[in-house]
């Protein structure tokens, strides 16, 4: 802890209900520094930065800027102090133009009354700002909903920089950026650093952190593990600090017993998203899927499940060709999908554990339209016990559950309807490391019971740790099918980034190994 540092956060505590989000966290950083915050999902990075940007009020602790203790009750207070944040969730109004979004709340006006907007000046200022940031290619009059997710990210950054903040918080900015855009962003960050801006950079992509950060603070389970200079540490140490255990402890080995083909996919195509996908999945196999942003991984999984039906191609389960148009067909064929965003399309948040676990198995627990509640209770309780769900009370509302337990509810739902093929799209996003390991064990138990698992993840370590084989996707095409033995971070990146660029694989930043855009 540096007593003279520009920014000092001391003894920050924050609880949400019974869960401790941050415990006695202290952090100090200087102007003209890029300070990275790393840690697993749920380690508390975002909460800490939300506190610094005024979006969340801490339970206790103090923040000082340049020796003056400050209190922030709202993002407005933080802005007034020169702190701006770019969050993972965009705060743009889609129907408005880029210029209006960037200058929101400070649009130039005519005359003294400040009522009539001076559009020529507004556009000029927005254009100037975008050019200054190196994104002159964007037309400031375009409405935001027409932009790609990465362009929206750029607008979000421009908005944050419109008032020249002294502290800029970037929360996973690389998640939706392409390689070129990322290098533009890094150039911008270096320029801001030279202009004595403090940049707090949240990421869990370590190569990126090593490229841009001056110092790194590691968080784990809501506590600071340590703050280190970039050049005093290597990646393996950093991973160990983040995770708190070794690779072998996290990714348990399973009994290898790969059986017959259970899912076969031929020439699967959905126009504009992916084409000509061809692979087979066997019983007892974990097939990893890896790819850069926009590679079509999520779209492919959703198509196999019938959520967005393919335009052509065929899908077979157990050797029988299926005509799958809707999720209903998929469920009755024994395919299930755990979606990327469980709150958006996985869970009924107004319902209980029992409601959610039953959802795909109603035919099993009813006579006609009447629910057989004894049977329902028995079946659900069985799964809840099997998965060690907490709480074990099946009448508990899912919104009161932790991320890991919510994910278990979804898994329980699919286990209950005797699934043969499990499509997992980012199954460990937003759950803490303990729950992660439990989910890995669960996947292993399923696989040992003969389920075939398609495992999509943006965390390369996870894909490598869990998969028997790994499919690599690039720009909607399957470009690699790599066995466990030949798979390495480098090899996957080479394939994912394209053969032409393989020679310079070293400068393919894993920053672009990102989640699928939701545009």
């Amino acid at each position: 802890m540096n007593a003279d540092a520009f920014l000092r956060m001391e003894g920050i505590n924050k609880k949400y209900g019974g869960t401790i989000a941050l415990k006695d966290v202290s952090l100090s950083a200087e102007l003209g520094e890029v300070h990275a915050l790393v840690g697993e999902n749920g380690a508390g990075k975002s909460t800490l930065m939300n506190i610094l940007s005024g979006a969340v009020v801490p339970d206790s602790g103090s923040i000082s800027l340049g020796h003056a203790v400050v209190t922030m009750r709202s993002p407005h207070d933080a802005n007034a102090l020169g702190i701006r944040a770019v969050h993972q969730e965009f705060s743009l109004v889609p129907q408005l133009s880029i210029a209006e979004n960037i200058l929101m709340g400070k649009l130039p006006t005519h005359g003294k009354r400040r009522l009539v907007i001076d559009w020529p000046r507004a556009y000029e200022r927005a254009r100037g700002l975008l050019a200054e940031l190196g994104f002159a290619g964007l037309d400031e009059r375009t409405r935001v909903f027409r932009l790609s997710v990465s362009q929206q990210q750029v607008v979000e950054i421009a908005k944050a920089l419109a008032e020249k903040p002294s502290v800029l918080i970037l929360d996973e900015p690389s998640a939706v950026l392409s390689k070129d855009e990322l290098s533009l962003l890094f150039a911008l960050i270096r320029r801001l650093r030279a202009e004595k801006t403090l940049i707090l950079y949240i990421s869990h992509r370590l190569e990126e952190v090593f490229e841009i950060a001056d110092s790194i603070t590691v968080l784990r389970d809501g506590e600071v593990v340590d703050t280190v200079r970039r050049d005093s540490i290597d990646q393996n140490d950093l991973i160990r600090m983040m995770v708190g255990r070794s690779f072998e402890e996290i990714y348990p080995r399973r009994r290898m017993s790969i059986g017959d083909e259970v899912l076969s996919v031929h020439g699967l195509t959905r126009e504009g998203e992916f084409s000509d996908i061809e692979f087979s999945l066997h019983r007892g196999e974990v097939l990893g899927v890896f790819g850069l942003v926009g590679s079509g991984r999520t779209a492919m999984a959703r198509s196999i499940f019938g959520a967005e039906p393919p335009t052509s191609g065929s899908i077979g389960v157990d050797g029988r060709s299926l005509k799958m148009r809707t999720p209903r067909d998929a469920v009755s064929a024994g395919i299930s999908l755990v979606t990327e965003d469980r709150k958006r399309d996985g869970l009924v948040m107004t319902g209980t554990i029992c409601d959610n676990v039953s959802l795909a198995s109603f035919p099993r627990m009813s006579r006609g339209i009447f629910l057989n509640r004894k049977l329902q209770e028995k079946l659900v309780q069985g799964k809840v016990r099997e998965l060690a769900l907490r709480p074990q009370k099946i009448g508990a509302y899912v919104r009161t559950l932790s991320g890991g337990n919510q994910q278990k509810v979804i898994l329980a739902k699919w286990l209950l309807c005797n699934t043969k093929v499990l499509l997992l799209d980012e199954p460990t996003r937003g759950v803490d490391i303990g729950a992660k390991v439990e989910i890995y064990h669960l996947i292993n138990a399923l696989v040992e019971a003969g389920v075939g698992v398609l495992f999509i993840s943006s965390e390369m370590i996870e894909v490598l740790g869990m998969s028997d084989r790994i499919l690599v996707m690039r720009e909607g095409r399957l470009v690699g099918n790599v066995g466990r033995e030949e798979a390495s971070e480098e090899r996957l990146l080479q394939l994912a980034a394209g053969v032409a660029r393989a020679a310079s694989a070293a400068d393919v930043t894993p920053g672009v190994i990102a989640t699928e855009g939701k545009a």
Binding site: D345, V348, M349, L359, R373, E377
Partner: protein, 317 residues
């Protein structure tokens, strides 16, 4: 209040009343007590039975509205459905036996509901807009069917439904209470009922669980049309005349009852018991204001404020 909710926490939920509900109950009890003491005419069996008859139509419409609101939707066409079905059940008695006339009217309610549900589910249109459109259409059809009020021809139509008594107990409220039991059972104990609640909670999760969302949405709006139809028929029977202009604003009373009873407009929350309490509350308030000779304009103001207060007391922290 979540009367539909925890499936298996039966023993607990009976005793677990949310504080906002408790406040509501206490206010209601106090109101009841005070009015009984102040007004001699209030706590008389005559007045109470009167109230019970007056709330029937809103009570029935509210069941349908609850089902639709559970899916995250709304149905603005119920008031007009009341008018059309009431006037059809009454007017058609001239050309066919009364039971058949009633069946036709119920069928019309189902058809209106089907149309609403079909357009909403098939074309993914907003329920507010679709039912606003059908509201206009149905009102128009009502006047096309009959510009003038219709009186029932069959004397049994009056004496059996809205005007009938078993001993001292009026029949209409019994029918309503019966339907509330059915609604409670449907929403808590049947697959389609549980599914309708889940759709309002998260439609995408339901779709991805391999369940037909379209079918359940259409079912929900059909039930809503059905209940509005029953409400209309009983109203015509009770009043002994069916007006083509009746029913304006009924949709708002039904929405109010559902919301006061713990329903949430975004769907997924609310239940039959809560809605029943909402209907009762609105009925008592109407009756009280009448007894205190409050002008109807003021009544509307008071009702609006009560709805606001109820919603504020129930908002999520």
């Amino acid at each position: 209040m979540r009367t539909t909710a925890p499936l298996l926490d039966r023993t607990r939920t009976i005793f677990k009343i949310r504080s906002s509900d408790l406040i509501f109950l206490v206010i209601f009890a106090v109101l009841f007590l005070v009015s009984s003491l102040v007004l001699e005419t209030f706590f008389t069996s005559r007045n109470l039975l009167n109230i019970s008859r007056q709330i029937v139509t809103n009570g029935l419409i509210s069941i349908g509205m609850l089902i639709v609101i559970l899916t995250g939707g709304i149905d603005l066409s119920v008031g007009c459905t009341v008018a059309l079905c009431g006037i059809m059940a009454t007017g058609l008695q001239r050309v066919m036996p009364t039971p058949l006339a009633i069946l036709v009217a119920l069928g019309v309610g189902l058809v209106i509901g089907f149309a609403n549900g079909f357009f909403i589910a098939r074309f993914k249109l907003q329920p507010f807009i679709v039912t606003l459109a059908t509201m206009g259409v149905v009102r128009g059809v009502t006047y096309v069917f009959s510009e003038t009020p219709q009186s029932p021809v069959d004397p049994l139509f009056r004496s059996l439904l809205g005007g009938g008594f078993i001993g001292v107990v009026p029949i209409a409220p019994l029918i309503m209470i019966g339907f509330y039991f059915l609604a409670w059972f449907f929403l808590n104990r049947t697959i389609p009922g549980r599914t309708i609640g889940a759709i309002g909670g998260n439609v995408e999760a339901v779709r991805l669980a391999g369940i037909s969302v379209k079918g359940h949405l259409i079912l929900a709006y059909m039930l809503c049309g059905f209940f509005a139809s029953v409400g209309g028929i009983i109203l015509a029977s009770r009043l002994g005349i069916a007006q083509p202009s009746v029913g304006a604003g009924f949709e708002l009373d039904a929405i109010a009852a559902v919301v006061i009873g713990g329903g949430v407009m975004s769907g997924g929350s609310g239940g039959a018991i809560g809605t029943f309490c909402g209907v009762l509350a609105l009925g008592f308030i109407d009756n009280l204001l009448n007894q205190f000779n409050v002008q109807s304009y003021y009544q509307q103001i008071v009702k609006g404020l009560i709805i606001l207060a109820a919603v504020i007391s129930r908002r999520k922290k």
